[in-house]
Point group: C2
Chain length 161, copies 2
């Protein structure tokens, strides 16, 4: 058994179990990983690779003008990969691809039961939220983004399920 | 409907459905997303955040000396986050954290039925594999890593389920 300082890492529920992540009072209560979003420099090549090489079901591309992206979803058995490509001049993905020309993981999206309750907990615990007022995300549901500085360098989207 | 060139993006199976990613002949056949691996500069802080703020079940830390990492697993409803921290002087994670001091997503791990069959398909389709001879990974199962240059900048681990 490996210790961090004097403290053992057990689950918050204290049961020692490892399933069922939600329902712990006073926490955000992360649910399902909705998707892993990958910014890609060439959407057709990326979609073709996941379909013809990897054997995944791949959705049609959808233009999300209000978010400055076009998206293609790749189905895995338990979750999805979301391929993102810039759409329009002010796309947030264009900047990401300038810094990462080959592409890369842009964010992960995890579901929560109640976005307002999640925001309240995050603010109490001083986790930085990019904009604490939930917006309607690319799937028509309210979302917030947690700042990578509060999440080990990872941009985390929380989406109300 | 949005077109890529003259070609519509439908599933490889052609059914138009979106569930069940596997079983398409002659492809890798991606299955479940086993985990998203996040390299973290401070394991205790990261584990505490996912446990006490996010409300997730968090495993004990395990030292994997042969892989140069210590790992903590965070349970989500449908998959896991694997927190990685360097262990030993030759840890591959140490270099990653030098380039990304705040941490970041290091790789994603996706399950396949048969790793040797997957390698064969990938080689036929000229997808770069870092070492095409499967090694026993951190979970005791054979794995290979796909080169980010073949996967939109993403390091992809394939693990035999």
């Amino acid at each position: 058994m490996f210790r961090f300082g004097s403290r053992l890492l057990y689950s918050a529920a204290g049961s020692g179990g490892f399933a069922g992540a939600k329902g712990i009072v006073g926490t955000v209560g992360l649910g399902r990983l909705n998707h892993v979003a990958i910014a890609v420099p060439n959407m057709e090549e990326a979609a073709t690779m996941y379909r013809d090489v990897m054997g995944c079901k791949v959705s049609e591309a959808v233009e999300q003008k209000e978010h400055g992206v076009s998206t293609v979803f790749v189905a895995l058995e338990n979750t999805k990969i979301e391929l993102l490509h810039p759409l329009g001049e002010n796309s947030p993905i264009a900047n990401f691809l300038k810094k990462n020309p080959a592409g890369g993981i842009h964010h992960v999206c995890i579901e929560v039961d109640d976005i307002h309750s999640a925001v309240k907990v995050l603010q109490e615990k001083q986790i930085r939220i990019i904009d604490p007022n939930p917006k309607i995300g690319a799937h028509g549901k309210p979302v917030v983004f947690l700042h990578p500085k509060s999440c080990n360098g990872v941009l985390v989207e929380l989406e109300e399920k």
